[in-house]
Amino acid sequence: MSDNLIEVRNLKQYFNAGKSTEVRAIDDISFTIKRGETFGLVGESGCGKSTTGRTIIRLYDATAGQVLYNGVDVHAPKSKKENHELNRKMQMIFQDPYASLNPRMKVLDIIAEGLDIHGLVKGKTERKQRVIDLLETVGLNREHAERYPHEFSGGQRQRIGIARALAVDPEFIIADEPISALDVSIQAQVVNLLKELQEEKGLTYLFIAHDLSMVKYISDRIGVMYFGKLVEMAPADELYRNPMHAYTKSLLSAIPLPDPIYERSRVRHPYNPKDHQYGPDEKVEFHEIAPEHFVLCSEKELAEMQATRV
């Protein structure tokens, strides 16, 4: 058993492949996620972050490439039992707390859905007890089990979504922008809950977001995506201290801080992919510029970056 829980190898996801409307949502990305760590994935809207998460968990069939979970290819054809097992180990927390809970089901049934599908409980009382335990794990009351989703606030709903994912005892959770639909005061609540759960249960997270400050707070390593490509990947601190790719620099320059003096001097660096001026025969590849720090660049750029790196 290797150290890597998730290995994504040359993953490609094209929609309408071969037609004039082809969209390359994910264009050849590779990364690994270690057991017990949080891997943050950032990038602007429409750059393929969510698609990456959904392809990993098999909501979409990959066009090409592999996703290895514990060394097992997720997308390869498998028996029903193996599929079932995999569904249990990988879970997802969704972005919109208002759309991710079925409005016609009671919280009890929403959370117990995974328990029912995987036959994890026997009898009604055990089922209810498990749900109550889960509700308490995410900081909700036992009487919430009998209520409907519309009676809850956004933060509470997101916690119900987390409880649903936790019900099947997963090892790996894909958090697809779990906080971007929430009020800032509630965001910390949810992120801290995720952190606590990680410590308690040894979970591994793929944390997808566009809020850089939140990603830095929760992630061990961060990948930056731009138009379906991973442009930079580094440990969280390293990425913030030494952003190498022009797009990462641009992203970081866009973070506002509640500090008027800093804000007065903050300059936004717009990113234009044409600035690279890659020649026709130049190979743009993922290079390791420092230990664990990868950048998508050409040989020429690599030399320049290494020269300027502090």
């Binding site: 959904r54 968990i57 909501l59 599929n83 079932h84 569904n87 249990r88 990988m90 879970q91 997802m92 969704f94 972005q95 919109d96 759309a99 991710s100 809970l101 079925n102 409005p103 016609r104 089901m105 929403i110 859905e113 995974g114 599908i117 995987h118 900081g139 909700l140 009351n141 919430h144 009998e146 209520r147 409907y148 009676e151 809850f152 509470q156 979504g161 649903r164 994912a165 099947v168």
Partner: protein, 341 residues
């Protein structure tokens, strides 16, 4: 005045910190209402819908027991009793429905003239058949067609639209092309073609409804399925490993049920009207069977001399149409607040 100021004085205890119990902070005070309870509360406030429901129940009740009430059979002809105006015991003393009718320009009591002892509550037609019995027999036919149409809508329409929308891709393409062909054929032509191969009557009308009646519903259900199947709660269910059947029955159908019910409520009056229209133009039910359409057709021919032959079936069909539409309206407001406008 002084007293009030003294009362306002704050003691040090007032500044003691109240610790918020996390258990209390997450508490919801409102009683829990399910979707259907909430919808019922909404519907109850809609007076027009409630009145319509009561009237509709009365009409259904009359359709069931009406033909048995006065002892006359609907197809029993009695030429001696032909063309009698309505005469209702109890009300006849008031001068209304007392059996008076016009004969050669003069008002005479036709019952006395023809020496009829029986009461025909809604009068008789040109063949001496009791119109009260025939009216409720006709209503029975109309309601039967209405509920058959609703059932076809619910079964074929929902299944067709659901399959088309849920599986998408090529399945959807083919199924939608079939629908487009079907929708291009006017229903009237389908009925006329049906009559060429089978006898005109309820069976032909039902076959016509089976062929084309469910298309509107299938389109609505398909659109709803497309909307819901990419919703995050369906994706969540799929990541948990739920099978298609479970997703359809537990997630998609419960969410679409409101719209399905609303649409059915609007299909029903259409079907009633469709049958009445076909019977009126003579390609629907054939005599001696009665339906609201044939009764109106009969009444329309003698409108000037015996308006009551037309009056009662016209009232019943109008009441039916209005009641179903108002109930549909009320249900739409109660079940689907977003559709209000």
């Amino acid at each position: 005045m002084r007293n009030e100021i003294e009362q306002e004085k704050l003691t040090p205890q007032d500044f003691e910190r109240i610790t918020i119990d996390a258990d209390q902070a997450e508490r919801i005070e409102k009683p829990s209402l399910s979707f259907w309870q909430d919808a019922w509360l909404g519907l109850r406030k809609n007076k027009a819908a409630i009145v319509s429901m009561v009237i509709l129940l009365l009409v259904i009740l009359m359709a069931l027991i009406g033909p048995l009430l006065n002892g006359h059979a609907g197809d029993a002809q009695n030429l001696r009793h032909a063309n009698l105006p309505p005469k209702i015991p109890g009300i006849e003393a008031t001068g209304l429905f007392d059996g008076d009718g016009k004969l050669a320009g003069k008002t005479v009591n036709l019952y006395e003239m023809k020496k009829v002892d029986e009461y025909y509550w809604f009068g008789t037609d040109g063949l001496g058949r009791d119109l009260f019995t025939r009216l409720w027999e006709g209503t029975r036919v109309s309601l039967f067609i209405a509920f058959v149409a609703a059932a076809i809508d619910m079964v074929i329409g929902v299944a067709y639209g659901g399959i088309s929308g849920y599986f998408g891709g090529r399945t959807d393409d083919i199924m939608q092309r079939v629908v487009e062909i079907l929708i291009g054929i006017p229903t009237l032509i389908v009925v006329i073609l049906m009559i060429m191969i089978m006898d005109p009557g309820i069976a032909a009308i039902i076959v016509a409804i089976i062929i084309t009646g469910w298309i509107g519903m299938s389109r609505i259900v398909r659109a709803q399925t497309l909307k819901y199947k990419s919703q995050e709660f369906v994706l969540a269910s799929r990541t948990l490993g739920a099978k298609d059947g479970k997703i359809i029955t537990k997630h998609l159908l419960p969410n679409m049920l409101g719209i399905i019910i609303i649409n059915t409520m609007f299909t029903i009056p259409n079907a009633i009207f469709f049958e009445a229209f076909l019977s009126f133009i003579g390609i629907g039910l054939q005599p001696p069977a009665a339906s609201l359409g044939t009764l109106i057709n009969d009444g329309y021919k003698v409108m000037e001399n015996q308006p009551y032959v037309l009056l009662f079936p016209a009232i019943v069909i109008s009441v039916l149409m209005i009641a179903f539409n108002l109930i549909g309206d009320g249900l739409r407001d109660a079940l689907d607040p977003k559709m209000k406008d």
